[in-house]
Point group: C2
Chain length 256, copies 2
Amino acid sequence: MTDIKPELIPIQHNQTSCSNCSIRRLALFHGVPEEDLSCTQNYRSGQYKLSANREVFRECHHSDFLYTVYLGWIAIYKTLKNGKRQILKIALPGDIIGYQAHNDAAMNYSGISLTDTILCAFTRHDMPELFRKNKNITQRLTELNSRDMNLCQNRLLTIGQHSAIEKIAHFCAELFYRIKTIYHEPNINHINFPLSQEDIGDATGLTKIHVNRTLRELRERGLMEISSRTLKVNDIDKLCELGSFDKSTVHTYILY
Amino acid sequence: MTDIKPELIPIQHNQTSCSNCSIRRLALFHGVPEEDLSCTQNYRSGQYKLSANREVFRECHHSDFLYTVYLGWIAIYKTLKNGKRQILKIALPGDIIGYQAHNDAAMNYSGISLTDTILCAFTRHDMPELFRKNKNITQRLTELNSRDMNLCQNRLLTIGQHSAIEKIAHFCAELFYRIKTIYHEPNINHINFPLSQEDIGDATGLTKIHVNRTLRELRERGLMEISSRTLKVNDIDKLCELGSFDKSTVHTYILY
DNA sequence: CGAGGGATTGAGATTCATCAATCTATGTGG
DNA sequence: CCACATAGATTGATGAATCTCAATCCCTCG
């Protein structure tokens, strides 16, 4: 098994700088004072473009980098011997992917781009030094990890205890709110939605056939519909109710 | 809704000190040099006894403390409006429970003792200062959180993609290895197992009736059996195989 | 215009939940 | 020490939710 060389295309010109970064509010450096950001910049090994459906890292393999998602959607997942796949997390702009406490350990999960993507890469090896030097960044990382834990636990609750339609309602409501928050569009009722029905199934623990039937049910009930890579929400209140998605606590685990 | 006052009984005499702690190897202070431990001790607000089936903290309520489990089993869970419950994690000696990045936030989950328990309490309010003062402890906390994330993701994979018998095999194999590791008994084939069949169902997303039938199946296949609060493993290899539990990576996520 | 991946629908099989009843172990009060 | 109460374990019967297999359709892209 050779290490993975993801097909990352370095951006040579027009790289954004950390201090001008448009998603700074979301990312690792939220709350980090201006004067610390030049420091940050030094640790960034560059920005990379990645087209859709490309591997970022693979379970059981080593990855030299961790990334901040600057643009695009990334799926983080685990695979079983029988080929079944569980999507653990959908990473969106501002999210950190690939962080693990032990630098020398192989990855615990795989990552794949769902859309064209821009990633900011940080050398894993340099992280301990960065964290030692900058408490604000360390604190921020802790908060992001805590947010991820919360999302993971909520998904566990959903997958363990809900019916198919409730699982899908929860999953879509969460993404709907995350995207709206990231792009400051609180009033819009549709978002770009690049997941296939099979992807939704891998995230919710259902087969794509059953996802299809359940999406029809959601459409017929007038709650939401997905077509041509767009999620349109027709009744957000009923959708959240059905999926036990508590809008009032969004801020506690959608950390932007 | 009033804040919960868990029925914690302070241990007045014979409190263990952090520097003599028999589970130091497991707990928050693993790798923390001797001279830092007096510092630690100052932040501990005391040891508490708790009998079985008592609430430690409750979802949506505030908790002034976080705890290290010194002795006993604690279930961390979330509840739905319809009464269904998902156990997120079984905390064992050495585990930290109740840590959340935001000090002022309400708890995201509930905790209940499954056995008689001894907890070491730390005042949540003091944590930022402790972390500021001691990098080793901060690092250790990060590792424990990372381990918990890994366990949670593995459970997500299991619950999302496995059949009932595979889920239970995985769940029991994990606990079996964790207990054996904690108590340094690599060769023993049975452990104390205080969970009811309903608890197992709440952890794996199954009804207690189906758990019962599945346990019978596991017994009849000669893999494992549970009786009178004891889990006896008869064929650990087949059990791990069935539950897709990878013994070889135990050290990466059973962090003791 | 053809190829291919995703979406859709149908039919039948399987897994698991639900309802209901009995059984067993454990602990408690008299 | 016994009678009773109670929680957990066990079994059966039935039905619902979801999966599997198979076929067709539709959109997009080259």
